[in-house]
């Protein structure tokens, strides 16, 4: 497959499990919580679902081969959908992000949260992932119980379908805290990146801005939570504490990074005494991170080019589709940008991801692009 002869990695496509299938993989007392399941969701409802995220029928997803119903719009709802989508977009390697698991940090009972994490990864590994076909997933680590989360990572890290560890921007304690050391140690030990996936933790969940529409909430919250975590991880020295750990930020677009990069440098120059572990400027640590490209902001090309330059995009950006959400990006949205070099294009569309995620299977199009 591939796109324009390149090996394409989609670092963020969404999967929405069939709830009854998933429930079979739960163990311990959490089984009882699902045995009498009668509602629609097994954890707090998706924030923002008071809105119609798919724009009241203005976006439709059936063209990819799925059913086109509401579940399809939130995530591919059966394993059979995945190769159909990969073929349509020319994706060689895909990372399936569990949509419901984006809400796991809102589960306040730590045991319940970890039971869900353990059950979910077992479900994904048993019935959904197929690394020999380029289909991988992330093991979701709940921040409420870092010790158990680390044990879970150790338990499943041997699976060839696990390519990274996902954490959510909605953790209660920012991710620079030493409390998360067990998770970072486990990820680093197994050569798995930490993937920070944005979700709704920002003004819309705070006391000072209750937005009346999804467009307001989504525009701000999805960058806000990743800003919180990036500031925390940089300034509290996660890269110094775990120098071999790779860190990826997803689903916030790219423009928020540049402004924050220089704002942190300005703060640090004045208040270094509060961050003595740092050995270089915050912006230099940030350029060691990776950023999913989606949703790529629409703006004049000359300005977009400047953002790519500021963030060393050819070495830090990773193509992500976010299929099938309303704000997904086609591969062409990134690969066809005219200011990219051929080498940079190949890196952003696939090679950077191949170096960051732990993909175990042979990558078929690398010979084509080399």
């Amino acid at each position: 497959m591939g796109y324009r002869g390149m090996h394409v990695v989609d670092a963020d496509a969404h999967y929405l499990e069939e709830i009854r299938d998933f429930a079979k993989y739960l163990k311990g007392p959490s089984v009882e919580r699902f045995a009498d399941w009668s509602g629609q969701y097994h954890m707090p409802a998706l924030v923002g679902e008071q809105y119609d995220v798919m724009l009241h029928g203005r976006t439709v997803r059936g063209a990819a081969g799925g059913k086109g119903d509401q579940d399809e719009m939130l995530g591919m709802s059966s394993p059979a959908d995945i190769p159909v989508v990969m073929k349509r977009f020319g994706i060689d390697t895909i990372v399936m992000i569990p949509t419901y698991m984006l809400m796991v940090e809102f589960v306040r009972n730590a045991n319940h949260a970890m039971d869900i994490c353990n059950g979910y990864i077992d479900y994904m590994l048993d019935g959904v992932c197929a690394p020999e076909e380029g289909i991988y997933t992330l093991v979701v680590a709940a921040g409420r119980d870092p010790v158990r989360a680390a044990k879970m990572i150790d338990r499943v890290a041997g699976s060839p379908a696990v390519c990274g560890v996902e954490m959510l921007g909605s953790v209660e304690l920012p991710l620079g805290a030493e409390a998360y050391n067990p998770i970072y140690e486990a990820a680093q030990h197994h050569g798995l990146p930490i993937v920070l996936h944005a979700n709704f933790l920002g003004p819309d969940l705070s006391s000072f801005a209750k937005f009346p529409s999804f467009v307001e909430s989504h525009a701000l919250d999805m960058t806000w939570c990743n800003q919180v975590q990036l500031v925390s991880m940089v300034m509290e020295g996660v890269p110094e504490r775990f120098p071999d750990l790779k860190i990826v930020f997803q689903e916030s677009g790219i423009t928020w990074v540049a402004g924050l990069m220089y704002r942190l440098d300005t703060e640090y120059m004045r208040r270094r005494v509060e961050a003595p572990l740092l050995r270089k400027l915050p912006s230099e640590y940030i350029k060691d991170f990776y950023f999913g490209t989606q949703p790529m902001e629409d703006m004049p090309r000359k300005h977009l080019k400047m953002f790519f330059e500021m963030l060393d995009a050819e070495n830090t950006f990773i193509y992500a589709s976010d299929w099938p959400h309303f704000d997904y990006d086609e591969p062409s949205a990134v690969a066809d940008l005219p200011f990219l070099s051929d080498a940079g294009r190949r890196k952003i569309m696939g090679e950077n991801a191949l170096g960051v995620f732990r993909f175990t299977e042979k990558t078929v199009n690398l010979e084509v692009s080399a």
Partner: protein, 125 residues
């Protein structure tokens, strides 16, 4: 051609103290640390603040201990860092280097001690 200009009597500057003066058309500060005298231009590279009038501190550094925890400590047991009073940029007095970014520096000038007399070597005027 460098200029060797008399600046002060050594006894004017006690241990851990500094004087500020105008010399050869420049505003300077001369600091006395445990291993000698050091002269800096009294102009912060950030927004040209009077850096040599700032308070002195010990450099705080941090390392990662074997248990994974961050441990803070003083780099040296001497207040040899001056903080610009305008925005807090910290500079190592011996080198003039900013602790947060070693590429940013306060201009530093050599000091020669000749008996009781201190001379500062300035660039040619």
């Amino acid at each position: 051609m460098a200029r060797r200009l008399w600046a002060a009597r050594a006894s004017e500057i006690g241990p851990g103290e500094r004087i500020r003066l105008e010399l050869g058309g420049l505003e300077l500060g001369i600091f006395r640390l445990s291993d000698g005298f050091f002269a800096l231009e009294d102009k912060c590279p950030h927004q040209q603040g009077p850096v040599c009038s700032g308070n002195l501190f010990r450099e705080i550094t941090a390392t990662v201990a074997e248990d994974g925890r961050v441990r803070e400590r003083y780099a040296r047991d001497e207040a040899d860092v001056v903080a610009c009073p305008m925005h807090g940029w910290e500079f190592e007095i011996r080198t003039g280097e900013c602790l947060a970014n070693r590429r940013r520096k306060v201009q530093r000038f050599p000091v020669e001690v000749d008996g009781e007399d201190l001379y500062v070597i300035l660039p040619g005027g």
